[in-house]
Amino acid sequence: MDVKLALRVDDLDNVATVFANEVKAGDEIEIRDKRGHLDPVIVHSDVPYGHKIAVVDIPKGAHIMKYGESIGEADVDIKRGDYVHVHNMKALRGRGDLGK
Protein backbone atom coordinates (compact mmCIF):
# COMPACT_ATOMS: atom_id res chain seq x y z
CA MET A 1 0.00 0.00 0.00
CA ASP A 2 1.12 3.56 -0.73
CA VAL A 3 2.48 5.63 2.12
CA LYS A 4 -0.09 8.18 3.29
CA LEU A 5 1.58 11.59 3.39
CA ALA A 6 0.96 14.83 5.23
CA LEU A 7 3.06 17.90 4.38
CA ARG A 8 4.45 20.27 7.02
CA VAL A 9 5.36 23.43 5.09
CA ASP A 10 7.45 25.34 7.66
CA ASP A 11 9.44 24.39 10.75
CA LEU A 12 7.23 26.67 12.88
CA ASP A 13 4.08 24.80 11.82
CA ASN A 14 2.14 22.76 14.39
CA VAL A 15 -0.18 21.28 11.75
CA ALA A 16 0.42 19.31 8.55
CA THR A 17 -1.85 18.92 5.52
CA VAL A 18 -2.91 15.36 4.59
CA PHE A 19 -2.71 14.60 0.88
CA ALA A 20 -4.12 11.08 0.80
CA ASN A 21 -7.59 9.75 0.05
CA GLU A 22 -9.71 7.82 2.55
CA VAL A 23 -7.64 8.33 5.68
CA LYS A 24 -9.41 6.54 8.59
CA ALA A 25 -9.09 6.76 12.36
CA GLY A 26 -6.13 4.63 13.48
CA ASP A 27 -4.27 4.94 10.14
CA GLU A 28 -0.57 5.75 10.23
CA ILE A 29 0.39 8.93 8.34
CA GLU A 30 3.92 10.04 7.46
CA ILE A 31 4.40 13.74 8.19
CA ARG A 32 7.02 15.06 5.77
CA ASP A 33 8.81 18.35 6.47
CA LYS A 34 10.46 20.57 3.87
CA ARG A 35 13.76 18.70 4.14
CA GLY A 36 12.01 15.40 3.44
CA HIS A 37 12.29 14.07 7.02
CA LEU A 38 9.47 11.69 7.89
CA ASP A 39 7.62 11.62 11.21
CA PRO A 40 4.99 8.85 11.52
CA VAL A 41 1.82 9.58 13.50
CA ILE A 42 -1.44 7.72 14.18
CA VAL A 43 -4.50 9.87 13.32
CA HIS A 44 -7.37 9.83 15.83
CA SER A 45 -10.27 10.29 13.41
CA ASP A 46 -11.12 10.13 9.70
CA VAL A 47 -9.40 12.98 7.78
CA PRO A 48 -10.62 14.11 4.34
CA TYR A 49 -8.13 14.80 1.52
CA GLY A 50 -6.39 18.16 1.97
CA HIS A 51 -7.36 18.62 5.63
CA LYS A 52 -4.99 19.12 8.57
CA ILE A 53 -3.70 17.12 11.52
CA ALA A 54 -1.79 18.31 14.60
CA VAL A 55 1.95 17.61 14.53
CA VAL A 56 2.32 18.33 18.26
CA ASP A 57 -0.01 18.88 21.23
CA ILE A 58 -1.60 22.35 20.91
CA PRO A 59 -3.12 23.84 24.10
CA LYS A 60 -6.40 25.75 23.98
CA GLY A 61 -5.79 29.40 23.02
CA ALA A 62 -2.47 28.72 21.24
CA HIS A 63 -1.96 29.80 17.65
CA ILE A 64 -2.44 27.25 14.89
CA MET A 65 0.64 27.69 12.68
CA LYS A 66 0.90 26.95 8.92
CA TYR A 67 3.31 28.49 6.36
CA GLY A 68 5.16 29.67 9.51
CA GLU A 69 2.30 32.07 10.26
CA SER A 70 -0.80 32.09 12.50
CA ILE A 71 -3.96 30.85 10.81
CA GLY A 72 -6.12 31.16 13.96
CA GLU A 73 -6.22 29.71 17.46
CA ALA A 74 -7.13 26.43 19.14
CA ASP A 75 -10.66 26.40 20.62
CA VAL A 76 -9.89 23.35 22.79
CA ASP A 77 -6.81 21.34 23.79
CA ILE A 78 -5.66 19.52 20.65
CA LYS A 79 -3.49 16.37 20.77
CA ARG A 80 -0.82 15.27 18.29
CA GLY A 81 -2.60 13.23 15.59
CA ASP A 82 -5.94 15.03 16.03
CA TYR A 83 -7.85 16.28 13.02
CA VAL A 84 -7.67 20.12 13.05
CA HIS A 85 -10.41 22.15 11.35
CA VAL A 86 -13.31 24.54 12.07
CA HIS A 87 -14.62 22.27 14.87
CA ASN A 88 -11.59 22.88 17.11
CA MET A 89 -9.93 26.06 15.80
CA LYS A 90 -11.15 29.53 14.89
CA ALA A 91 -10.14 32.45 12.68
CA LEU A 92 -9.10 35.67 14.42
CA ARG A 93 -9.64 38.02 11.47
CA GLY A 94 -12.81 39.45 9.92
CA ARG A 95 -14.67 38.71 13.15
CA GLY A 96 -17.43 41.34 13.16
CA ASP A 97 -19.27 39.18 15.71
CA LEU A 98 -16.59 39.86 18.35
CA GLY A 99 -17.21 43.63 18.25
CA LYS A 100 -20.81 43.37 19.44
Partner: protein
Protein backbone atom coordinates in the same frame (compact mmCIF):
# COMPACT_ATOMS: atom_id res chain seq x y z
CA UNK B 1 17.06 35.04 -24.88
CA UNK B 2 13.78 36.77 -25.53
CA UNK B 3 10.28 35.41 -25.70
CA UNK B 4 7.68 36.71 -28.13
CA UNK B 5 4.03 36.20 -28.96
CA UNK B 6 1.76 36.98 -31.89
CA UNK B 7 -0.56 39.87 -31.10
CA UNK B 8 -2.84 42.47 -32.65
CA UNK B 9 -1.24 45.93 -32.60
CA UNK B 10 -3.85 48.61 -31.81
CA UNK B 11 -3.74 52.23 -33.05
CA UNK B 12 -2.68 53.40 -29.55
CA UNK B 13 0.28 50.99 -29.55
CA UNK B 14 -1.16 48.41 -27.19
CA UNK B 15 -1.17 44.75 -28.21
CA UNK B 16 -4.16 42.41 -28.01
CA UNK B 17 -4.18 38.62 -27.75
CA UNK B 18 -7.73 38.51 -29.16
CA UNK B 19 -9.52 40.57 -31.81
CA UNK B 20 -13.12 41.02 -30.70
CA UNK B 21 -15.97 43.45 -31.22
CA UNK B 22 -17.29 44.31 -27.75
CA UNK B 23 -20.99 44.98 -27.29
CA UNK B 24 -21.23 47.21 -24.21
CA UNK B 25 -24.62 47.96 -22.64
CA UNK B 26 -24.27 51.23 -20.71
CA UNK B 27 -26.89 49.99 -18.25
CA UNK B 28 -28.46 46.66 -17.21
CA UNK B 29 -31.69 47.74 -18.94
CA UNK B 30 -29.96 47.51 -22.34
CA UNK B 31 -28.73 43.92 -21.85
CA UNK B 32 -31.47 42.17 -23.82
CA UNK B 33 -30.78 44.22 -26.95
CA UNK B 34 -27.05 43.60 -26.57
CA UNK B 35 -27.59 39.85 -26.16
CA UNK B 36 -29.70 39.69 -29.34
CA UNK B 37 -26.90 41.43 -31.28
CA UNK B 38 -24.24 39.06 -29.91
CA UNK B 39 -26.33 35.99 -30.78
CA UNK B 40 -26.54 37.12 -34.39
CA UNK B 41 -23.07 38.48 -35.13
CA UNK B 42 -19.99 36.23 -35.01
CA UNK B 43 -16.83 37.71 -33.54
CA UNK B 44 -18.68 39.74 -30.91
CA UNK B 45 -18.69 39.39 -27.13
CA UNK B 46 -20.94 41.18 -24.65
CA UNK B 47 -20.37 42.73 -21.22
CA UNK B 48 -23.69 41.93 -19.59
CA UNK B 49 -23.39 43.58 -16.16
CA UNK B 50 -26.12 44.62 -13.70
CA UNK B 51 -25.27 48.27 -12.99
CA UNK B 52 -25.61 51.73 -14.49
CA UNK B 53 -28.68 53.42 -13.00
CA UNK B 54 -30.20 54.44 -9.64
CA UNK B 55 -26.80 54.38 -7.94
CA UNK B 56 -24.79 57.02 -6.08
CA UNK B 57 -22.61 59.31 -8.27
CA UNK B 58 -19.47 57.58 -6.96
CA UNK B 59 -20.70 54.24 -8.31
CA UNK B 60 -22.04 55.66 -11.59
CA UNK B 61 -18.52 56.97 -12.19
CA UNK B 62 -17.05 53.54 -11.36
CA UNK B 63 -19.41 51.89 -13.86
CA UNK B 64 -18.66 54.47 -16.57
CA UNK B 65 -14.89 54.16 -15.95
CA UNK B 66 -14.98 50.36 -16.01
CA UNK B 67 -17.05 50.10 -19.21
CA UNK B 68 -14.79 52.64 -20.90
CA UNK B 69 -11.67 50.76 -19.75
CA UNK B 70 -13.10 47.47 -21.03
CA UNK B 71 -13.70 49.08 -24.44
CA UNK B 72 -10.14 50.43 -24.45
CA UNK B 73 -8.62 47.06 -23.48
CA UNK B 74 -6.32 45.68 -26.17
CA UNK B 75 -8.20 42.42 -26.80
CA UNK B 76 -11.09 44.58 -28.07
CA UNK B 77 -10.68 45.75 -31.68
CA UNK B 78 -13.90 47.75 -31.91
CA UNK B 79 -16.86 48.53 -29.64
CA UNK B 80 -20.61 49.05 -29.90
CA UNK B 81 -22.22 50.93 -27.00
CA UNK B 82 -25.87 50.01 -26.38
CA UNK B 83 -27.59 52.84 -24.54
CA UNK B 84 -31.18 52.89 -23.34
CA UNK B 85 -31.29 56.68 -23.20
CA UNK B 86 -32.23 57.51 -19.60
CA UNK B 87 -29.46 55.74 -17.67
CA UNK B 88 -27.16 57.24 -15.06
CA UNK B 89 -23.85 56.33 -16.70
CA UNK B 90 -22.09 58.78 -18.98
CA UNK B 91 -22.36 56.79 -22.22
CA UNK B 92 -21.11 59.72 -24.34
CA UNK B 93 -17.86 59.75 -22.33
CA UNK B 94 -17.47 56.01 -22.91
CA UNK B 95 -17.71 56.56 -26.68
CA UNK B 96 -15.28 59.51 -26.63
CA UNK B 97 -12.66 57.67 -24.59
CA UNK B 98 -12.77 54.50 -26.69
CA UNK B 99 -12.59 56.53 -29.93
CA UNK B 100 -9.58 58.40 -28.51
CA UNK B 101 -7.62 55.11 -28.66
CA UNK B 102 -8.17 55.15 -32.44
CA UNK B 103 -10.40 52.08 -32.63
CA UNK B 104 -13.88 52.07 -34.21
CA UNK B 105 -16.67 52.75 -31.70
CA UNK B 106 -20.37 53.23 -32.44
CA UNK B 107 -23.41 53.81 -30.25
CA UNK B 108 -27.09 52.91 -30.60
CA UNK B 109 -29.82 54.41 -28.37
CA UNK B 110 -32.85 52.19 -27.81
CA UNK B 111 -35.40 54.89 -26.91
CA UNK B 112 -34.30 57.19 -29.73
CA UNK B 113 -34.38 54.40 -32.35
CA UNK B 114 -37.98 53.50 -31.49
CA UNK B 115 -37.63 50.45 -29.27
CA UNK B 116 -36.25 46.96 -29.00
CA UNK B 117 -36.55 45.48 -32.49
CA UNK B 118 -35.33 48.62 -34.27
CA UNK B 119 -32.38 48.91 -31.88
CA UNK B 120 -31.50 45.26 -32.42
CA UNK B 121 -31.58 45.77 -36.19
CA UNK B 122 -29.39 48.88 -36.01
CA UNK B 123 -27.05 47.12 -33.58
CA UNK B 124 -26.68 44.04 -35.77
CA UNK B 125 -25.88 46.27 -38.77
CA UNK B 126 -23.26 48.22 -36.79
CA UNK B 127 -21.68 45.12 -35.21
CA UNK B 128 -21.53 43.35 -38.58
CA UNK B 129 -19.77 46.38 -40.14
CA UNK B 130 -17.21 46.47 -37.35
CA UNK B 131 -16.54 42.70 -37.36
CA UNK B 132 -15.88 42.86 -41.10
CA UNK B 133 -13.64 45.89 -40.61
CA UNK B 134 -11.38 44.40 -37.93
CA UNK B 135 -11.43 40.68 -38.77
CA UNK B 136 -8.80 40.98 -41.50
CA UNK B 137 -6.15 42.37 -39.14
CA UNK B 138 -3.04 40.17 -38.97
CA UNK B 139 -1.12 39.25 -35.84
CA UNK B 140 2.45 40.47 -35.56
CA UNK B 141 5.43 39.39 -33.45
CA UNK B 142 5.81 41.34 -30.20
CA UNK B 143 8.11 40.99 -27.22
CA UNK B 144 6.79 39.30 -24.07
CA UNK B 145 7.40 42.58 -22.20
CA UNK B 146 4.21 43.87 -23.90
CA UNK B 147 2.21 41.39 -21.85
CA UNK B 148 0.07 42.39 -18.88
CA UNK B 149 -1.09 39.24 -17.09
CA UNK B 150 -3.69 39.16 -14.32
CA UNK B 151 -3.58 36.39 -11.72
CA UNK B 152 -6.23 35.01 -9.41
CA UNK B 153 -7.22 31.95 -7.42
CA UNK B 154 -10.79 30.74 -6.96
CA UNK B 155 -12.68 27.77 -5.60
CA UNK B 156 -9.52 27.15 -3.60
CA UNK B 157 -8.62 24.29 -1.30
CA UNK B 158 -5.42 23.39 0.53
CA UNK B 159 -3.73 22.23 -2.70
CA UNK B 160 -3.96 25.79 -4.10
CA UNK B 161 -1.34 27.22 -1.75
CA UNK B 162 0.97 24.22 -2.15
CA UNK B 163 0.75 23.54 -5.90
CA UNK B 164 -1.24 25.68 -8.35
CA UNK B 165 -0.47 29.04 -6.70
CA UNK B 166 3.22 28.08 -6.56
CA UNK B 167 3.11 27.46 -10.33
CA UNK B 168 1.54 30.88 -10.96
CA UNK B 169 4.10 32.47 -8.64
CA UNK B 170 6.86 30.88 -10.74
CA UNK B 171 5.35 32.28 -13.96
CA UNK B 172 4.77 35.70 -12.34
CA UNK B 173 8.44 35.93 -11.27
CA UNK B 174 9.60 34.91 -14.74
CA UNK B 175 7.37 37.49 -16.45
CA UNK B 176 8.50 40.29 -14.13
CA UNK B 177 12.13 39.38 -14.86
CA UNK B 178 11.35 39.55 -18.60
CA UNK B 179 10.00 43.10 -18.27
CA UNK B 180 6.28 42.25 -18.42
CA UNK B 181 3.49 43.37 -16.08
CA UNK B 182 1.70 41.13 -13.55
CA UNK B 183 -1.33 42.23 -11.51
CA UNK B 184 -2.97 40.42 -8.61
CA UNK B 185 -5.92 41.38 -6.41
CA UNK B 186 -8.40 39.83 -3.96
CA UNK B 187 -7.77 42.20 -1.06
CA UNK B 188 -10.02 40.09 1.19
CA UNK B 189 -7.52 37.29 0.78
CA UNK B 190 -4.64 39.36 2.12
CA UNK B 191 -6.15 39.17 5.65
CA UNK B 192 -3.57 37.43 7.81
CA UNK B 193 -0.83 37.73 5.18
CA UNK B 194 -0.75 41.51 4.59
CA UNK B 195 2.50 41.93 6.56
CA UNK B 196 4.26 39.59 4.13
CA UNK B 197 3.04 41.62 1.13
CA UNK B 198 3.80 44.97 2.79
CA UNK B 199 7.41 43.90 3.42
CA UNK B 200 7.73 43.17 -0.31
CA UNK B 201 6.53 46.67 -1.27
CA UNK B 202 8.95 49.00 -3.03
CA UNK B 203 10.15 51.32 -0.24
CA UNK B 204 9.49 48.70 2.43
CA UNK B 205 6.71 48.10 4.92
CA UNK B 206 6.71 51.72 6.14
CA UNK B 207 6.88 53.33 2.69
CA UNK B 208 3.80 54.63 0.88
CA UNK B 209 3.15 51.37 -1.02
CA UNK B 210 3.53 49.21 2.10
CA UNK B 211 1.23 51.49 4.07
CA UNK B 212 -1.32 51.49 1.22
CA UNK B 213 -1.41 47.67 1.37
CA UNK B 214 -2.24 47.82 5.09
CA UNK B 215 -4.85 50.50 4.37
CA UNK B 216 -6.79 48.60 1.69
CA UNK B 217 -6.84 45.45 3.84
CA UNK B 218 -8.07 47.45 6.83
CA UNK B 219 -10.84 49.05 4.75
CA UNK B 220 -11.93 45.69 3.32
CA UNK B 221 -11.95 44.05 6.77
CA UNK B 222 -13.95 46.96 8.25
CA UNK B 223 -16.50 46.77 5.43
CA UNK B 224 -16.98 43.06 6.12
CA UNK B 225 -17.16 43.62 9.88
CA UNK B 226 -19.47 46.68 9.71
CA UNK B 227 -22.51 44.40 9.55
CA UNK B 228 -21.49 42.91 12.91
CA UNK B 229 -21.17 39.35 11.68
CA UNK B 230 -18.45 36.74 11.66
CA UNK B 231 -16.95 36.78 8.16
CA UNK B 232 -16.50 33.00 8.39
CA UNK B 233 -20.00 32.48 7.01
CA UNK B 234 -18.84 33.90 3.66
CA UNK B 235 -15.03 33.71 3.67
CA UNK B 236 -13.74 31.07 3.53
CA UNK B 237 -16.63 29.80 1.41
CA UNK B 238 -18.37 26.50 2.31
CA UNK B 239 -16.43 24.95 -0.58
CA UNK B 240 -13.12 26.24 0.78
CA UNK B 241 -13.97 24.74 4.19
CA UNK B 242 -14.95 21.40 2.64
CA UNK B 243 -11.55 21.56 0.91
CA UNK B 244 -9.75 21.84 4.25
CA UNK B 245 -9.26 25.61 4.58
CA UNK B 246 -10.16 26.43 8.20
CA UNK B 247 -9.86 30.24 8.32
CA UNK B 248 -9.49 33.35 6.16
CA UNK B 249 -5.88 33.54 7.39
CA UNK B 250 -5.09 30.07 6.02
CA UNK B 251 -6.82 30.90 2.72
CA UNK B 252 -4.90 34.20 2.45
CA UNK B 253 -1.47 32.72 3.19
CA UNK B 254 -2.06 30.18 0.42
CA UNK B 255 -3.50 32.80 -1.94
CA UNK B 256 -0.61 35.26 -1.79
CA UNK B 257 1.81 32.52 -2.90
CA UNK B 258 0.59 33.14 -6.46
CA UNK B 259 2.15 36.63 -6.45
CA UNK B 260 5.64 35.10 -6.48
CA UNK B 261 8.59 36.83 -4.86
CA UNK B 262 9.24 40.09 -6.73
CA UNK B 263 8.83 43.59 -5.23
CA UNK B 264 5.34 45.13 -5.31
CA UNK B 265 5.46 48.37 -7.31
CA UNK B 266 2.16 49.89 -6.25
CA UNK B 267 -1.56 49.54 -5.58
CA UNK B 268 -4.15 50.26 -8.28
CA UNK B 269 -7.72 51.28 -7.49
CA UNK B 270 -10.50 49.17 -9.00
CA UNK B 271 -11.03 51.64 -11.87
CA UNK B 272 -7.35 52.19 -12.72
CA UNK B 273 -5.75 50.88 -15.89
CA UNK B 274 -2.44 49.11 -15.35
CA UNK B 275 -1.49 47.99 -18.85
CA UNK B 276 2.24 48.16 -19.39
CA UNK B 277 3.07 49.46 -15.90
CA UNK B 278 5.96 46.90 -15.69
CA UNK B 279 6.64 44.71 -12.68
CA UNK B 280 4.26 43.31 -10.08
CA UNK B 281 1.21 45.34 -9.02
CA UNK B 282 -1.79 44.94 -6.73
CA UNK B 283 -5.31 45.91 -7.77
CA UNK B 284 -7.75 46.52 -4.89
CA UNK B 285 -10.59 44.09 -5.67
CA UNK B 286 -12.88 41.67 -3.86
CA UNK B 287 -12.33 37.93 -4.32
CA UNK B 288 -15.59 37.07 -6.07
CA UNK B 289 -15.07 36.05 -9.68
CA UNK B 290 -17.43 38.32 -11.70
CA UNK B 291 -16.11 41.49 -10.07
CA UNK B 292 -12.39 40.68 -10.06
CA UNK B 293 -12.35 39.26 -13.60
CA UNK B 294 -14.07 42.44 -14.82
CA UNK B 295 -11.66 44.65 -12.89
CA UNK B 296 -8.65 42.81 -14.28
CA UNK B 297 -9.88 42.87 -17.90
CA UNK B 298 -10.60 46.60 -17.48
CA UNK B 299 -7.01 47.02 -16.28
CA UNK B 300 -5.98 46.09 -19.81
CA UNK B 301 -4.71 42.58 -19.04
CA UNK B 302 -4.64 40.41 -22.19
CA UNK B 303 -4.82 37.15 -20.23
CA UNK B 304 -5.45 35.78 -16.75
CA UNK B 305 -3.84 32.80 -15.05
CA UNK B 306 -6.30 31.33 -12.55
CA UNK B 307 -5.50 28.74 -9.89
CA UNK B 308 -8.14 26.40 -8.47
CA UNK B 309 -8.41 23.34 -6.27
CA UNK B 310 -12.14 22.65 -6.06
CA UNK B 311 -12.69 23.39 -9.75
CA UNK B 312 -13.77 26.87 -10.95
CA UNK B 313 -14.85 26.63 -14.59
CA UNK B 314 -15.63 30.22 -15.62
CA UNK B 315 -13.76 32.66 -17.83
CA UNK B 316 -14.36 36.20 -19.08
CA UNK B 317 -15.82 37.42 -22.38
CA UNK B 318 -12.73 39.23 -23.70
CA UNK B 319 -9.87 37.80 -21.63
CA UNK B 320 -8.68 34.19 -21.93
CA UNK B 321 -8.52 32.61 -18.47
CA UNK B 322 -6.02 29.75 -18.06
CA UNK B 323 -7.06 27.31 -15.33
CA UNK B 324 -4.25 25.73 -13.33
CA UNK B 325 -5.62 22.96 -11.10
CA UNK B 326 -3.73 22.06 -7.91
CA UNK B 327 -5.87 19.14 -6.81
CA UNK B 328 -5.19 15.88 -8.71
CA UNK B 329 -8.63 14.47 -7.81
CA UNK B 330 -10.36 17.55 -9.23
CA UNK B 331 -8.24 17.50 -12.38
CA UNK B 332 -9.23 13.89 -12.95
CA UNK B 333 -12.95 14.80 -12.65
CA UNK B 334 -12.91 18.16 -14.51
CA UNK B 335 -10.32 17.84 -17.29
CA UNK B 336 -12.58 19.60 -19.79
CA UNK B 337 -12.54 22.74 -17.64
CA UNK B 338 -8.95 22.64 -16.37
CA UNK B 339 -6.13 23.74 -18.70
CA UNK B 340 -3.15 22.39 -16.72
CA UNK B 341 -2.67 19.79 -13.99
CA UNK B 342 -0.51 21.05 -11.11
CA UNK B 343 -1.77 18.18 -8.96
CA UNK B 344 1.32 16.25 -10.09
CA UNK B 345 3.26 18.48 -7.66
CA UNK B 346 1.16 17.24 -4.72
CA UNK B 347 1.69 13.67 -5.94
CA UNK B 348 5.47 14.25 -6.04
CA UNK B 349 5.70 13.45 -9.76
CA UNK B 350 6.93 16.87 -10.94
CA UNK B 351 8.53 19.95 -9.39
CA UNK B 352 7.04 23.45 -9.20
CA UNK B 353 9.64 24.59 -11.74
CA UNK B 354 8.73 21.83 -14.22
CA UNK B 355 5.00 22.59 -14.08
CA UNK B 356 5.82 26.33 -14.05
CA UNK B 357 7.62 25.94 -17.39
CA UNK B 358 4.64 23.99 -18.77
CA UNK B 359 2.36 26.83 -17.66
CA UNK B 360 4.62 29.42 -19.28
CA UNK B 361 4.63 27.48 -22.58
CA UNK B 362 0.84 27.19 -22.44
CA UNK B 363 0.59 30.93 -21.74
CA UNK B 364 2.50 31.72 -24.96
CA UNK B 365 0.22 29.40 -26.95
CA UNK B 366 -2.89 31.05 -25.53
CA UNK B 367 -1.52 34.53 -26.29
CA UNK B 368 -0.93 33.34 -29.87
CA UNK B 369 -4.58 32.38 -30.23
CA UNK B 370 -5.06 28.91 -28.77
CA UNK B 371 -8.39 28.85 -26.94
CA UNK B 372 -8.60 28.04 -23.24
CA UNK B 373 -11.27 25.55 -22.14
CA UNK B 374 -13.64 28.28 -20.95
CA UNK B 375 -13.27 30.11 -24.29
CA UNK B 376 -13.93 26.95 -26.31
CA UNK B 377 -16.97 26.15 -24.16
CA UNK B 378 -18.27 29.74 -24.18
CA UNK B 379 -18.32 29.62 -20.37
CA UNK B 380 -17.88 33.34 -19.74
CA UNK B 381 -21.35 34.81 -19.30
CA UNK B 382 -21.02 36.10 -15.74
CA UNK B 383 -19.32 39.43 -15.20
CA UNK B 384 -20.07 42.39 -13.00
CA UNK B 385 -18.70 45.70 -11.78
CA UNK B 386 -17.64 46.11 -8.14
CA UNK B 387 -19.68 48.98 -6.67
CA UNK B 388 -19.41 50.40 -3.16
CA UNK B 389 -22.76 52.02 -2.41
CA UNK B 390 -26.37 50.84 -2.35
CA UNK B 391 -28.79 50.53 -5.23
CA UNK B 392 -31.23 53.40 -4.63
Amino acid sequence: MGYTFQGYRRPDGRVGARNLVAVIPSVICANDVGQAICRQVQGTIGYFHHQGCCQLPLDLKRVTDTLSNLGQSPNVGAALIVSLGCEGTDHERIVEEIRATGKPCEIIRIQELGGTSRAIQAGIDAAQRMVKEISGQQRETVDISELTMAIKCGASDTTSGMASNCVIGYVADKLVDLGATVIFGETTEFLGGEHILARRAVGGENGPVGQKIYQIVDEMEKRAMAIGEDMRGGQPTPGNIAGGLSSIEEKSLGAIVKSGHRPIQGVLDYCDQGYGNKGLWIKDTPGREPEILTGMAATGAQVMMFSTGRGAPQGFPSMPVIKICGNPNTYERMQHDMDLNAGVIIEGKKSIEEVGEEAFALLLEVLNGRMTNNEALGYYGSMDIFCLGPVI
